[in-house]
Symmetry: C2
Subunit: 336 residues, 2 copies
DNA sequence: CTGTTAGCGCATTCAC
DNA sequence: GTGAATGCGCTAACAG
């Protein structure tokens, strides 16, 4: 493999390596003529500087890491889309890591990244993460860090989230408005440290409207387990007339159980869910959704991360960015 | 930033840098005792070797690149999931690049990767790619390359695909079996070079059953344009009684138009589509789908790529891997 | 078994 | 304006 490098260019042009290096980086000490010659040859030979050598020398890699629980999920893939757009535009590279909601994987990933492989890291923490030492250790190295969506509120780093609590409040209120008296919340099994705005928005709405009988069912990753829990809920004595699902998956599980038990949506049960699925409109019946601004979150998080990486000052309002979610009302919460 | 490196470890332990390096890599020339001492201190100080230095020195980066048209798409995100699983297990890192179906972006990305940043590359080419010089140039550097899903058949590198043509044949035959006489195919606007098995499977099935009246409608990325084309199709004189969508998006557009025009699925129109959307079962009516083995494709492609990277011989059957898609028949193609 | 030396490719001093 | 020399942190060849 005849790698073309600075030395080779220098040889062909009878110049010093350092001159070539400077010419390519448009250093003003180099004459225009030399710059042009160097660039012409570089283009001709398809020269690409070795990124490891540059990174080693300059102690920066023009690479960021994105750590997410999963990617089989419209929300995170749209976030990644936003991140990649900004990164590509700024000439950065994006490393992707999946934790699969596993705290240990998350720890391992962060450990490996604590060494200059990347210039910065953005993460949405796993829901099994109860302890933030690994994040703290990462931050201690001085490397830029940004949280998005699933944040660690205790840490003083930029957060980019949606208005979970408010959106959740509105979604619950919407169910109440449509006549529900008895609303269950299908919650992510969440530890205390991770912000749990969705749950609190639900509770606040119930409290505000004087409905104390909260029903919170914790669901997880296993579809069959979720269906069992929902089945039990819908067959219980005080069966709810409304369900608010914290994530799309749980709404899907709810639909499945309703088909199975011949429960009519929305007549017998109204359903609303956080979801970024465009096809929710095609469901039977069309699913009312709380749509998170996923792409924007990714874009914003990346933009802020790059600002930190490039040591620009953050404006005060860039330290906690909240982008509003949007409720789309469809038949699943319609009047019977 | 008090970076801990080999030199520092060596200093603290009164050893040579090279000894420390070898100890950490479990070189058998180093005494067990020394190895233990070194490792203990490394663990204590949280030492992580600088990846750029290693990469520069060893001329490999333990990193691969995945280039896909988009990620907002269940198929590609499941592929990525498979890739990441294998990579994480093998201690590799994954760079992700999106082309947004833009040939020029694809070219730029490949150009930048032609310099040792990654040890190998897997790509599903953009549908605007008509010229493969950039891929050929990449391959010329000797770097491992693997195609998946959208391949360039002319090039002699491993291909991992699903049995597009066969699956497409079966899906079309399924529509025929359910009574369709007039089947339209909603096709990706595809150039000739990219394998177009889906279209040929459709045509073969029609030919086999003596139905010559093919109807191929080329759809694209813009939803509204697609809907217009489908609207026109469904309002035409020889309106089809079956639609086979090459990708999920087009099926969604079809449903939207059917709702709008009050066309009943499956009574007036049967619909089947390539799709990896789990929620297709919840559609109104549930959508019959051809499910591609996306996760497996990612896993297999990554496994083969790593084999090539590690210079292992490929078995003959690893050069062209085909993993079967699966048809799931639902109400959208049911008897009226 | 361990130390010394050299060099990966590049950017950056410091000379001239 | 340009060149020579240095070192980023690591691994590998060669000594001993």
């Amino acid at each position: 493999m005849d790698n073309v490098n600075l030395k080779k260019l220098a040889g062909e042009l009878n110049l010093a390596v350092s001159t070539v290096s400077r010419a390519l980086r448009d250093n003003h000490e180099i004459s225009q003529e030399t710059r042009d010659r160097v660039k012409a040859l570089a283009a001709k030979l398809g020269f690409q500087p070795n990124p490891h050598a540059s990174s080693l020398r300059q102690n920066k890699s023009r690479t960021i890491a994105v750590v997410v629980p999963e990617i089989q999920n419209n929300f995170f893939s749209q976030v990644l889309n936003g991140v990649e757009d900004v990164a590509q535009q700024k000439g950065y590279h994006v490393l992707i890591y999946l934790t699969h909601e596993d705290h240990n994987r998350e720890k391992d990933i962060l450990k490996v990244l604590r060494n200059g492989r990347v210039d910065g890291l953005m993460i949405s923490v796993s829901n099994t993460t109860t302890n933030f030492d690994h994040l703290e250790a990462y931050r201690q190295t001085g490397m830029p860090l940004v949280f998005f969506d699933r944040v660690c509120e205790e840490m003083d780093v930029p957060h980019i989230t949606t208005d979970d609590s408010k959106a959740s409040y509105k979604a619950t209120e919407h169910l109440l408005k449509m006549g529900c008296k008895n609303i269950a919340f299908l919650s992510l099994a969440c530890n205390l440290s991770i912000s749990n705005g969705r749950r609190s928005g639900y509770l606040q709405a119930l409290a505000k409207h004087g409905l104390g009988n909260k029903m919170i069912v914790e669901c997880g990753t296993d579809d069959e387990v979720n269906r069992q829990k929902i089945r039990k809920l819908l067959q219980s004595e005080q069966r709810p007339d409304g369900i608010f699902a914290a994530i799309e998956k749980f709404a899907v599980n709810t639909y499945e159980v309703c088909y199975e038990l011949n429960i009519c949506i929305p007549q017998q049960l109204k359903v609303v869910s956080f979801s970024n699925l465009a096809a929710a409109a095609l469901f039977n019946p069309p699913l009312s959704t709380v749509i998170q601004p996923a792409y924007e979150i990714g874009k914003e998080a990346a933009t802020i991360l790059f600002k930190v990486v490039e040591k620009k000052m953050l404006l005060p309002n860039e330290k906690k960015v909240t982008i509003a979610s949007q409720i789309v009302e469809r038949k699943s919460t319609g009047r019977s």
